[in-house]
Amino acid sequence: MKFWISCAIALGGAIALAAILKNEYFFFAGYTVLMFIVLATAWNILGGYAGYVNFGTPAFFGLGAYTAAVLFKAFELPLALQIVAAATMSGLLGLGAGLLTLRLRGIFFAIATIALVVIMETLFINWRYAGGATGLQLLRPPPTAPFESYIKMLFVVMAALAVIAVAIARYIETSWLGRGLRAIRDSEEAAEASGVPTLKLKVFACTVSGALMGVAGAPMPMYLSFIEPASTFNLNYAIGALASPMIGGTAHYIGPVLGAILLASFQQIVTVTISNEVNVLVVGVMLVVFVVAAPDGILGLLKKIPWKRS
């Protein structure tokens, strides 16, 4: 119950901010942070819970974005349906990629996910209807009432998506599904011997993870009024989706949220004031430091502090 109240507060807060704040920059930045929350949460379902590292976040994210863009260009589909379509396409990609490669060891799956990004990017570079290498310009429709500004609407939409993503992650984590995934991560052989259908569960996690990443990408074309392959299939999405949970903590659904808020905010500040390269360098160093010294992430460190004195 506490969880749902927090969600309601978060969503309500987002709507309130949209009503009150005038400075649009906040909503641009906020949108990015919320988007990384969705990506990090999605990544963690397969990476944190089941232990299979996905380097291919941009493939799922980009496919979602392009699905939305192409459907908008062809049918002027409303945003809500774009999101559903994106979830379906990226979910199917997760299903297919999962069936193909999740039988193999984790490192092979990880490398295969890199392959996905290159293949997706190559496909869209060569597809003229979707804009090819130069990209596609899109004219935004007016924002649906009661929003007066499109970016504020996208901000609230992304906040809702973040809440949904975290709720899904929480459900998986606390249910028998989560226990099975953790068993796979701890010892796949023993899990299989204990009756856990390891392949099915892994493919399930990969499908859900992919679908959520697609959902994170769907509003992007509307956000930018533009889409093109190089920036859509950008490595930064892979880094953010992987580093956020590894730094925040992979065992609990709050970890990716914490990590994403930290990294996305940090990225906004450093990229603007110093450079994107320094941002990536710091993230890289933090990733290595946490993986080596604090494997349970920030959440793990917080747990070690004696909060209660008995």
Partner: protein, 241 residues
């Protein structure tokens, strides 16, 4: 005793190396069966083929009248074959109790998606192996002996009809060996067929009704414990030519 498990001409190759060569055996319901052989003779490979961790390259494996060679391991577990691992593989992020909840949920209660009161059942099983006091301990903090008991308990939680104990007693002291033997006996008395792989000869001989000896992937002898011990081929396999 009708056969519960029929292994017919099973072979397994790893590249050019033949780990198992046309192994055949039959195990009856409720039987206590011992599997011995020197290191590298193929005992664990055979167990892996039976439990589904590996796919056999040739031959057939029938369990309870049905061919299972093409089934993935988790489905064989659901049909009633459980095994413990030679080197314990606990679910390290979980408590001892939770380790048992996994097979209970996935083997027993999968019809009901919501968690039944598996925790009480898990505690019962822990009591049988003497680990009830460690229920809340994280499984990566257990001693070697406790880990081996957990392996057994986890296999028991799958409520098997055939339980394969893969060197559950390695490294245990005399008393501890007796403890584990007693647990296995109780399970057998409740009707569970048991295959025991062990190096501790006196344990195998005390426990088994029938013993098979493997060497270099082939069965070299089959019979009662007394007959096996006296067999010259067996002695040669263990002590060298």
């Amino acid at each position: 005793m009708e056969a519960l498990l029929k292994v017919r001409e099973v072979s397994k190759h790893f590249g050019g190396f033949t780990a198992l060569s046309q192994v055949s055996l039959e195990i009856g319901r409720g039987e206590r069966f011992g599997l011995i052989g020197p290191n590298g003779s193929g005992k664990t490979t055979l167990i892996n083929c039976i439990s589904g961790a590996l796919r056999n390259d040739g031959g057939s494996i029938e369990f309870d009248g049905a061919e299972i060679s093409s089934l993935p391991a988790y489905q064989r577990t659901r049909r009633g074959i459980a095994r413990s691992f030679q080197i314990p593989r606990p679910f390290t992020s979980m408590s001892v109790l939770e380790n048992l909840v996994v097979p209970l949920e996935y083997v027993q209660h999968r019809g009901t998606l919501h968690i039944a009161d598996t925790r009480a059942e898990a505690l019962e099983i822990l009591r049988t192996v003497g680990l009830q006091d460690k229920a809340q301990t994280q499984s990566n903090r257990l001693t070697q002996v406790e880990l081996r008991k957990l392996e057994l308990a986890r296999a028991m939680a799958a409520r098997p009809r055939l339980l394969i104990s893969d060197e559950s007693m390695a490294g245990l002291s005399g008393n501890e060996v007796d403890e584990v033997l007693a647990i296995l006996r109780t399970l057998n008395e409740a009707g569970i067929t048991i295959i025991m792989i062990e190096h501790i000869m006196q344990a195998v001989m005390r426990f088994s009704q029938r013993v098979v000896c493997l060497d270099a992937g082939r069965i070299i002898c089959e019979g009662t414990p007394e007959a096996i011990v006296k067999n010259p081929d067996v002695q040669r396999a263990y002590l060298g030519a």
